[in-house]
Symmetry: C2
Subunit: 183 residues, 2 copies
């Protein structure tokens, strides 16, 4: 099927909420068959995530409380991009702020769209290596715990369904293929 | 750090939008240091996704227009759960509705949280095998293109950053590890 038979045309857009993180709009679109449909859309400024792997094959991880699911999650370092910020710069900044790690080498692992059905957020992924440790400097209202675990154990946890966070699952499996030659 | 030093306590909640797919709330929470912070949260009913792999090692894929990013995406079959629906039943239902495929075997690949910082959506993932082809029966307002491609080519595309959708990246890499013994 040609793309033109899949595309939806915007008819109207209504602003619902203009928050600090999320911008919510409720749009009406024309479907390929001419019918109208409603689309609930979250606009997001974009984010970056970094899987930092040491020479010993361990990963610098974070434990962080996630209010929407009321649970402490295991995740790789990540954060929102500043307006206009380059993803690579943002990745280096977030990594150093949250963990105190400076990466000598950043390898782009591509992008991920967490929920393209209703959200335009795009997260650029990096593998950070050649790591140096400095002081971390969290925002005053940021609470997270930094720890280290073997990449091989993280791969096992991802495969056994013990890691829920999408960006962490993807970067763990990609980093393992790249670093351990399972290409 | 103990979990109690990470947890945020809800203080108040304001409903912003009660849509067909998204329920948006703007909450105030108490941080571990006693300060207050605002949390913008999307409530979602949950979803299921299925990677259907044939005996020949090809994957039944979909091309679908995603309005929030104004682009046709390559994705595995997926859909929202009906209220109270079991994820396994929902996965079998979505797979048959969208592709006409009936799965003889469904292997759970765990869950994924696409965006735990601001959304409570949980997607249960399945690997579908022992496939039989029937007729698909799309909703009247659903437009998507079904096609087949080798799992090995999808793995290459995921590793080269050519597949953006998070659930597709995760399930492709997990299915490859399981089916091709890269455990």
């Amino acid at each position: 099927m040609a793309d033109k038979n899949l595309i939806e045309k915007p008819i109207s857009s209504k602003e619902i909420f203009d928050g600090k993180i999320l911008h919510v709009v409720h749009d009406t679109v024309e479907l390929p068959n001419g019918a109208e449909a409603s689309r609930e859309v979250i606009r997001h400024t974009g984010a970056v995530c970094v899987i930092p792997v040491t020479e010993e094959g361990t990963v610098i991880m974070e434990r962080q409380y996630r209010y929407p699911i009321a649970r402490v999650m295991l995740e790789i370092p990540a954060g929102k991009l500043e307006p206009g910020e380059d993803p690579l710069e943002g990745g280096l900044r977030e990594l150093e702020e949250e963990t105190g790690i400076v990466a000598g080498k950043m390898t782009c692992l591509g992008e991920l769209l967490p929920a393209p059905a209703y959200c335009d957020e795009k997260i650029t992924m990096y593998l950070a290596t050649e790591l140096t440790r400095k002081e971390r400097h969290l925002d005053e209202d940021e609470f997270l715990d930094v720890f280290e675990m073997p990449l091989s154990e993280l791969v096992r946890m991802v495969m056994d369904g013990e890691i829920a966070d999408a960006k962490t699952q993807i970067t763990v499996l990609k980093a393992d293929r790249i670093l351990n030659g399972n290409q």
